[in-house]
Structure formats: C-alpha cells, structure tokens
Subunit: 225 residues, 2 copies
C-alpha cells in the first residue's frame, strides 16, 4: 500500500437517495462488482472483522474498501495492510454514508480491477440504517458487550440488514448476553435474517461466515453473468 | 412509578439551537435545577450507570430523567424503578437530542419538584456531540470493550464533554484497552477533562464518581443561590 487517498463529502440531504442507490447497484452489477455495506456501533469490531474477512478470501477475490470516518484514517491504515485497495472517506460531521457519497467514493476508488467492495460505515446504529448506499448486501455487527436489548432500541438497522454477525464471542462468558433471546427479537423485525456468531479477534466461528459470504458472492456472480 | 409519559419530537434543523440551549441553561439555573447530558455509544452502560447514580444520591437530591430513544421505552421502565421522575422522549428517527426537544421534554417532565435532571441521550458517539441541549454538564461514557482508539475516531464528543466515565472495568482483563493511552488521546482534545474508572454493574470505582458529582452539584447550587 503506497498512499491512502482521502476524499471529503458532505451530507446529501436530497430525498432521491434511494434512486441514486438503485443506479449504483445496477451499475456495479453490470461491472460484476459486489458491494457490501458493513454497519455497527462504535467499537463493535468492524475493522477487525473486515481484516479477517479479506485475509480469508483475498486468494479468490480482489477487494476494495471505502473507510468512512468522521475525521481520521487509523482504520484505513489497518485495512491497507491486507493488500486491499483502500480509500478513506471523511464525512465531515455526517453520521453515515449516503448514495452520493458512495458514488464519489467508488469513482475515487476505481472498481474496474475489483470483485468485492466493502463500505465500512460510520460506527453508529442509527443513521447508517436510514440511507441505502447501493450495496447488494447489508451486514451489521452486534458485539456481545453491547447487550441483547439492542434490537429493541435500534430496530431499523435490524430491519434493513441481511446478516447479523454476533462478534466478540470470545468474551461471552463475562457478559449477560442471551443469543437466543436476541435472535428472537431480531427475527420479529426481519424473519429472513442470517446469523453468524464469531470472534474476529481469535477467529472462532469465522469459517461459517466466510463460507456463507463466498457462496453469496459466487451465486450472485453466476446470476449476473 | 405509575405511568411513563411518552412525548414525540422531531429533529430541529434550525441553526439557533445554541441560543435556545443557553436560554434553557439560564432558566434552569434560576429554578436551581441542574441538567446533565449523558452521552455514549450503544451498549456502553448508560442506563445501568444512571440507575446506580440515582440510587447513590436519591437520599439527597430529587432526580428527573428524560430518556431519549428512537422507538422504545425499555430504559425508561428500568430507570423508573429508582423512584426518579421519568419521561420517555421518542426522537422519531433523529439520532440525538437538541435544545428544542429538551424544552419539550422539560415542560412535559415538570421540574419544579426536582434538583437534578438527566438526559439519557441516544446511544451514539456522533450526533449528540453536535447539539447543545442546555445541560450544565456533559458526561460521556466510554466502555472498555469499545476500545481505546475511540477518541481518534469520534473526537468531537471528547472535545465537548466535561467528564469521561470509563465503564465496565470489571471486564478489563479480557480486553486490550490501555487507559493511560486513551486518557492521553482525550487530553489532547480537551485538557480539562475529568476521568473516572468504574463498573456500573458491580459498583467498583463508583464512589469517586458519586463524590465528585455530589460536590459539583453542591458547589453549583452555592454559586447560584
């Protein structure tokens, strides 16, 4: 990794976010680039999960990452060590990525040499849920220390996501987190949700997530030949 | 607790938030009501901290709590068990409290019979930092599992807060959290910050925070006789 590009965007207040997002999705599908929007609260392990995911599949796919942050590039530097193509997006106070920021990001990143692009969204369970970024899949991490009541308090992000990764299972013995109860609460909001329990720190449970993700990408590619 | 009142507010987009906030502060000072804005990411222990704080000082002060949530009242129910006067504020999608929401909340709560009012803000390290609510003090919780890099990634909330509570020290042995490094990062953003390390779950370290808070309230009351 030579240099991390930094682009700065402003919150797009227009109501046509959804239309732009759909155009992004169509355009990326034509280009055979699979876009994943990775969301979570602060400190739930987005970057660690992303690093392990990329390292697990980089022999097979060429990865790009758009690192959204308020105002730093520490995560982009960490991610770049995987060899993935990385840009940093500074949202300048905005608490989420939207579709127009995603277009700016994709143009700066350049996707012609990529198979899979991740957006690492701002650490926030509220705002990112409200904005379609044009991603093909939305993955949300909920870490064990955050508590099993989060679906009650931040329902939207659980409604709109496709996959929940219960992260930090390596410390589950010291927290009062009832995974079954949490799943029930999430399934009431979204009965198509996929779940994986894992530790991005030590890799426990990671294989199942990687297998699933690999199959999703493969079947999406086959469906869009 | 008989019934938890629910009021619903909308995000106030006007730029005069700061003026309204200053009016709130002046008005509450006249009424000798001390307002504290409690902020943190999701799952860092705001509600547990609030319950233990109120239980530690309710023999001395009459507490009110405005529970801000996207769309639930689980926390308000928990808080009401302390005997504090509680209202639930539904922000209807907004990711923070602002000054006009605070006015609505204070009017609904009624402060004439109260000494101290807490806002439990939306679980979010981004948006709440941007809006002055009129509070006399801003307290932010950072829990050990979230990581010591949070001041690098969400600097504003550390700039604007008066106190940081490092919560969940009961599990610090299973996390790689360097408190000294984290304090240094915060002090670079705000060299007047007060710090307390505690466990709201088991009460470790809680006395020092309670002593400090008690003295703050007392000296504020004396200064505003």
């Amino acid at each position: 990794m030579d240099k991390i590009e930094i682009i700065e965007t402003k919150m797009q207040l227009e109501a046509d976010n959804d239309n732009i997002a759909q155009e992004i999705r169509n355009d990326l599908t034509k280009k055979k680039v699979f876009l994943i929007n990775l969301m979570a609260g602060p400190g739930s392990g987005k970057t660690t999960t992303l690093v392990r995911t990329i390292n697990s599949l980089k022999h097979k796919y060429r990865f790009g990452v758009m690192e959204a942050d308020m105002d730093s590039d520490v995560d982009a530097k960490t991610i770049s060590e995987t060899g993935a193509k990385v840009i940093q997006i500074h949202t300048l106070g905005s608490c989420h990525m939207d579709a127009s920021m995603t277009i700016d990001g994709l143009n700066t990143l350049g996707v012609d040499d990529l198979d899979v692009v991740f957006i690492e969204n701002i650490g926030n369970l509220v705002c990112p849920a409200e904005f379609d970024t044009g991603a093909h899949k939305k993955v949300t991490i909920l870490s064990i220390p955050e508590g099993d009541d989060k679906p009650l308090k931040y329902p939207l992000i659980f409604k709109v996501s496709d996959v929940i990764l219960f992260n930090k299972i390596d410390v589950k013995e010291v927290f009062d987190f009832d995974e079954d109860v949490c799943k029930e609460r999430i399934l009431k909001l979204n009965d198509k949700m996929e779940f994986f329990s894992l530790s991005s720190l030590n890799g426990d449970g990671f294989d199942k997530w990687i297998d699933w993700l690999d199959k999703e990408i493969m079947s999406w590619k086959e469906a869009n030949v």
